[in-house]
């Protein structure tokens, strides 16, 4: 097994609100190996995006990591100085976001925004950065790269903007790329193109990818390994094939069953009943028990630990 490039242990994040601290990530443990694509799957509110922002060190001002460990290439992310963290961001760890429409600054040209990272982290001159920027745009399949450099974000389509984001994120050859729902805001054909692009680029540069999504189709397409998050916890972890073939946790089962099948004629699409619990009012015992078809009395009191059923597959459930 290759070395983990990112190692997260028992990560806990909370947000300060008017009603006190609200925990949103409750002891998340996972790692990303070199050259691997790990997908984090979960519903809105499961804590997956917060986890990624915590890794980047860009939690909103009212959020904080209050426990746990984050190690990136043997560096303790919770101990390094702000300056050292900044030197990592956009350089060794970079990130692309869900909303290509709003993730680029509307008042600066594409060229400016691309050059900025290169000048900052690679100490390139403006001209060299410009050349490299054009190369990056070509690499992500943008036609007329030279012209696009002088355009503003609003002059590009959503798919093009996401390509620009990817070009920007990859421009300093990051060791880890965090992609937070990179295709959610795009239409289906563009989604497929962006995913293929990410896959190809990963193979070329051996970048590790941490992809955050709620779309199991995306998971099947790009991931090597998957962790399923629910209410700020990891409830299942498995290699991608194993997860699809042999899901253990009832929540994962629910997610799989929620995918509509093209040949089935059904009156209503399947859905997991209820919603993700509010972080201010977490159920006791197993956090999934109010929505779980298998839940019994024990589930209401016992909070299950993440158990490995073999060396790669883990689940957080006492019933299966």
């Amino acid at each position: 097994m290759s070395n983990p490039i990112l190692d997260i242990k028992d990560l806990r994040v909370r947000f300060k609100t008017e009603d006190g601290f609200v925990p949103t990530v409750n002891g998340v443990t996972f790692h990303v190996n070199e050259g691997e694509t790990l997908a984090i799957v979960g519903e809105s509110g499961s804590g997956k995006s917060v986890t990624s922002l915590a890794v980047m060190g860009i939690l909103p001002p009212n959020g904080e990591v209050y426990d746990g460990e984050m190690t990136f290439r043997e560096r303790d992310l919770l101990k390094i100085s702000k300056k050292e963290y900044r030197a990592l961001r956009g350089n060794e760890i970079s990130m692309i976001f869900q909303e290509p429409m709003t993730a680029l600054n509307p008042v600066f040209t594409i060229g400016y925004q691309l050059r900025e990272t290169l000048i900052l982290h690679q100490q390139l001159t403006k001209e060299a950065a410009h050349k490299k920027g054009i190369e990056m745009l070509e690499l992500v399949g943008i036609p007329d790269a030279e012209k696009v450099m002088s355009r503003f974000p609003h002059q590009l389509s959503g798919g093009m903007r996401q390509r620009v984001m990817i070009a920007m994120a990859l421009s300093c050859n990051p060791k880890l790329l965090i992609a937070d729902e990179p295709t959610t805001a795009l239409d289906v054909t563009i989604q497929a193109q962006i995913l293929t692009l990410m896959k190809n680029l990963k193979e070329k540069s051996n970048t590790s990818i941490l992809i955050i999504t709620h779309d199991l189709g995306v998971v099947a397409e790009v991931a090597d390994r998957v962790i399923v998050m629910y209410a700020g916890e990891v409830v299942e972890e498995a290699p991608v094939f194993e997860l699809f073939e042999n899901p253990k946790h009832p929540y994962t089962h629910g997610l799989m069953a929620s995918i509509p099948k093209i040949h089935d004629v059904v009156e209503n699409l399947y859905s997991i009943e209820g919603t993700v619990p509010n972080p201010t009012n977490m159920p006791k015992g197993c956090k999934f028990h109010p929505r779980c078809p298998l839940a019994d009395k024990d589930c209401m009191t016992i909070h299950p630990e993440l158990e490995y059923i073999n060396s790669t597959h883990a689940k957080r459930c006492i019933k299966v």
């Binding site: 922002l53 980047m56 860009i58 900044r86 030197a87 990592l88 961001r89 956009g90 350089n91 970079s94 990130m95 976001f97 909303e99 709003t102 993730a103 680029l104 600054n105 509307p106 008042v107 600066f108 900025e116 990272t117 900052l120 982290h121 503003f152 609003h154 984001m165 920007m168």
Partner: protein
């Protein structure tokens, strides 16, 4: 370019309306000749002066005559100063410009750092202090602030001259007086504009690139936050000019405002008309300039 020409054309009816309102107002608010003659003048003397100056004709006829002269560039005579009203107004204009620009500079110097700071440190003691100060600054009447500044810095500490126009030292107190109110308004505006921008996705992107927080705030956020601020600043021009009326009177600053206040008191109609028309032109111009700056700041805006 076409857009701006069109906009300039659109201002003509506005200016016409302003001339009409001012024209009627100065004539219906009192006897136009009462200030021109000594108190001992007889009714016959008053009547003959009115007749001679054409005040006995119906208002519409008088207005048309006034417009006719205006088109020829004739703004009438000031009977107080016995000179061309337009020349008189233009003579006073540079002093007002000087004061207005200095006040704007004071307002920018105060409001930009404070507005950004209170947005970045929102809900902190610092934020409370700044927004509280802004409310106070807005609430203080400028004539009162002006008198207090004169009392403290000119009379007691004798750091600045009390009034009048001279070098830079003469400019400082009136500029602070006029700039404070505008700074208060702008600080609150910059704060709320910055707060909105700092929550945007592209700010998170900028942070994820590893940029220093000062660059994220002062470059990525502030450039965007400026867009609404510029609009309001242009609208503030009218407040600024209104402010000069009071400030110039308090500091005996020989500008357009002081002239206008005197002219209104003396019923010097041609001067009132010329000054208001000129002020109207400036307000309209500053709005057009704001439009231009707006386009420079926000690439998403295109006028076709």
């Amino acid at each position: 370019m076409k857009y701006f020409l069109l906009n300039v054309l659109k201002t003509i009816p506005v200016l016409l309306l302003i001339t009409l309102i001012v024209f009627v107002l100065v004539r219906v608010t009192g006897d136009p000749v009462s200030m021109m003659l000594p108190e001992t003048a007889t009714d016959e003397e008053r009547e003959s002066l009115k007749e001679a100056l054409g005040f006995n004709e119906p208002l519409p006829v008088q207005y048309m005559k006034y417009l006719g002269d205006l088109v020829k560039g004739d703004f009438g005579e000031s009977f107080r100063y016995d000179m061309d009203a337009l020349d008189l107004v233009l003579e006073r204009l540079p002093a007002t410009f000087q004061l207005a620009i200095a006040s704007m500079i004071v307002a920018i110097i105060i409001s930009v750092p404070l507005g950004i700071l209170s947005a970045v440190k929102r809900n902190s003691f610092m934020d409370l202090f700044i927004t509280g100060g802004a409310v106070l600054g807005k609430a203080m009447p400028s004539f009162w602030l002006g008198i207090m500044l004169i009392l403290m810095f000119a009379v007691n500490l004798q750091l600045f001259p009390v009034s009048g126009k001279g070098g830079l030292m003469h400019l400082i107190l009136p500029a602070i007086t006029l700039g404070t109110g505008i700074a208060a308004e702008m600080t609150r505006l910059i704060r709320s504009s910055m707060l909105e921008i700092l929550g945007q996705d592209f700010i998170r992107t900028a942070r994820s690139k590893g940029l220093r927080e000062s660059i994220v705030v002062n470059k990525h956020a502030f450039r965007n936050a400026l867009i609404p601020v510029v609009t309001i600043m242009a609208l503030q021009t009218s407040t600024l000019i209104g402010g000069t009326l009071i400030t110039e009177t308090v500091f005996a600053w020989p500008g357009l405002g002081q002239l206008l206040v005197q002219a209104v008191n003396l019923r010097d109609m041609s001067v009132v008309q010329a000054a208001t028309l000129l002020i109207a032109v400036f307000v309209i111009l500053s709005n057009l300039i704001a439009d231009l700056i707006y386009r420079l700041l926000d690439p998403r805006i295109k006028y076709d």
